[in-house]
Chain length 224, copies 2
Amino acid sequence: MTAVLVIEDDDRIRLALLLALEEEGYRAYGVATAEEGLQRQRADPADNVLVDLMLPGMDGFEYIRQLRRDDDVPIVVVSARDDTHDIVAALEAGADDYVVKPVAIKELSARLRALRRRGRAGTTPVSSHVVGELEVSPEEGEVRRAGRIVPVTRTEFRLLCELAEHVGRVLSRRQLLQRVWGYDTGDERLVDVHVGRLRQKIEDDPANPRHLVTLRGLGYKLQR
Amino acid sequence: MTAVLVIEDDDRIRLALLLALEEEGYRAYGVATAEEGLQRQRADPADNVLVDLMLPGMDGFEYIRQLRRDDDVPIVVVSARDDTHDIVAALEAGADDYVVKPVAIKELSARLRALRRRGRAGTTPVSSHVVGELEVSPEEGEVRRAGRIVPVTRTEFRLLCELAEHVGRVLSRRQLLQRVWGYDTGDERLVDVHVGRLRQKIEDDPANPRHLVTLRGLGYKLQR
DNA sequence: CCTGATTTGTCACACAACTGTCATGGAACC
DNA sequence: GGTTCCATGACAGTTGTGTGACAAATCAGG
């Protein structure tokens, strides 16, 4: 899943952006200052960065310059100021796009997509989740166990991706039903069945699962 | 010198843009229709394309889609309409940026620079893709299998190129339909048929493909 | 232009794979 | 020991895919 880092000091705007981005299918997280933004991006690099220009302490321009020293991530400025001088300065500093608040989330999302498309010129290393001897690669549409390809069905694959994206965290049947099947309501036993089938394929001893474990009364989780 | 192609039917606006761009140090030339734009860009490729959306005959959206089939040049839409729906549609069609008229030339110039900066990153047009015993050469327009030339049709060739450019990655029928045929909508079975025909030519045992494999529910991919 | 050959897209059918439901029995919890 | 929760096997309905036939469109050559 595509991760987006939002740097914006106004709490309400930041939260609204994060919510809207998650709605669009991104994994989004935010910080309030440029300093935090630099730290965060170095520790856990996002695929896109959204940054406000007016920030307390280090401002957006300086943030962009500093980040660009060692990171080629697409940067989009989200600013309230619709001023040619600011736009030019931000782009010169190394930003890739500049949108003016208030921004339509659909537009923002489309611009992010366009940027990633362009950035991905050439060959991007395929991203995959590694959990112990298990490897789930959404891009290749493959699951490998100790290097060998394990054939899984589409539903199983989606389920596994969802679990792999949240390694170590419990996901309730309802959450899985919602995210994998898109069902708001429905029989939760359905999840059980597919978890069972998945275990047959990815576990050494399906009766005593080591990776895809049950947490009674809570749900399932994937663990290393 | 950086060349820019401007496609805009309003003579005054087009000339004003051309003048301003030359002022900024670009070599700029323009045409009034999308059809001319396609022709011109194929005959003498510019480094950037500016295109209006509302054009007589073929509109800007269609222009972008058609050009994108075989040209990766950065495309900026310059439109009078400041409408989220248009913006999203243009970016989805393959545009890289969207600015609203009237536009400050300094901003436009900065956006073009930002685009080129990103565009050059890793855009090394590969002469041929090698996938196992298979060799796809976009430049020569040839497909070889174990050194022998395999005759494929134009559509098959495009399809194979698209798959070869993303070796190891799943491409959905919709993605293929979009990238190979330029269709936004349409019957996905069309892809199946062409994949089938391609298999007859490039696979040892077309019923058990080793390279051009199906990922049920996901799409197709080419694998080594 | 005209004509025949090739290529392209549509359709329908058959088959295989997958999905969701249910019932049963077992395990964990109190 | 009773209750809740979970695992699993079977099964019927659904969906997804491969393929051959065919007509429309396009191309090549006279």
